[in-house]
Subunit: 184 residues, 2 copies
DNA sequence: GTCTATAATTGGATAGAC
DNA sequence: GTCTATCCAATTATAGAC
């Protein structure tokens, strides 16, 4: 882990990230990754063992991508919606490709882990009140729903809708699960 | 369209539906479908033109699967959540495989169409009040979120949670978008 | 560490006899 | 309508020279 030793190794990872993001897992070949990286197909396997390993190594939610759940609860719904709306292309494609590849055992596991680590667990940790775990899991589901509509179904009308309007309508639904409901 | 003429044709469709549902699009081969149907691989192509055509022909939301949107609005949120929770294996796998295959052009289009025809359009038609289209699209997103959490991520904890509790927590969020908000 | 060459499979789809 | 035989393209992954 140091210096310029793994130059081609990094080039392969970069090329893979770019191609997996653009064309998806199935449509990206090891040959194509090697060509893009200026390396040899054999090196791709030599460095990462298999195409799936390389995919899992590359398509990960980075530490910097994580949403902060430690600020005031009464605006958390808004911040969560903004997190999805403001996601950059890389983060977006990571989730998108994990979802699309979720039938392959390891990739499905990686998606479950990302969902659990990045949304469910932090939410469970901060949510006050009863049924915290259930509410956290349903909030996480709603986040997934926004990703689903915008990134998978590609609801263009929704994507073109004024950002503030989407937040004004969707965030309260999240907030309703975040703020403990005395009546329930 | 009658009689016992297309016997193998139907056998192929049935085998394809079963295999696509169990193993997904990519992992299912034309040869396997033929074997399961007791037919010849060539017949699969002869009848349906291509594997993708067969997939699109097979993995469709049937008329009987459709949710009714014409009953009283104040319980629509509950009925929508129940629709997802009560979905049978076939309907579930149709959505699941459309989502997973959504990077292939035609399949992605089919998913968008199913989403639009089965959720967004009927909702827009019945929702009263302002921003009906935006609210309909966000309700559809929430439905997708529940599918996402239960079927793609396979949140086992959520799946094991008491049905009534899930409804009690998630349906109000949908209902909040369905019932016009005078303050907005 | 790197590359050439190729193994070993598998896939979808077609041609043409019956 | 049906089946036999096969084509052709593409894949991941490996073996072994340099």
């Amino acid at each position: 882990m140091g210096g310029a030793k793994g130059k081609t190794r990094e080039a392969i990872a970069d090329a893979a990230a770019s191609l997996f993001a653009s064309n998806g897992y199935a449509a990206t070949s090891v040959r194509e990754i090697a060509r893009e990286a200026g390396a040899d197909p054999a090196m791709v396997i030599r460095h990462y063992g298999s195409k799936e390993e390389l995919f899992l190594h590359t398509m990960q939610v980075q530490p910097g991508d994580a949403l902060r759940f430690d600020e005031p609860w009464n605006t958390l719904g808004i911040r969560i919606v903004e997190y999805v709306l403001d996601a950059d292309d890389r983060l977006r494609s990571v989730y998108l490709e994990l979802i699309r590849g979720s039938d392959a055992g390891r990739i499905g596991t990686a998606l479950s882990a990302a969902h659990e680590d990045n949304f469910v667990a932090p939410l469970v940790a901060v949510l006050p009140g009863p049924d915290a775990e259930l509410r956290a899991r349903l909030v996480a589901a709603m986040v997934g729903g926004l990703m689903y509509a915008l990134w998978i179904v590609e609801d263009e009308t929704l994507a073109r809708t004024d950002r503030a309007d989407v937040i004004a309508r969707y965030a309260p639904a999240l907030q309703g699960l975040i703020t403990p409901d005395p009546a329930l």
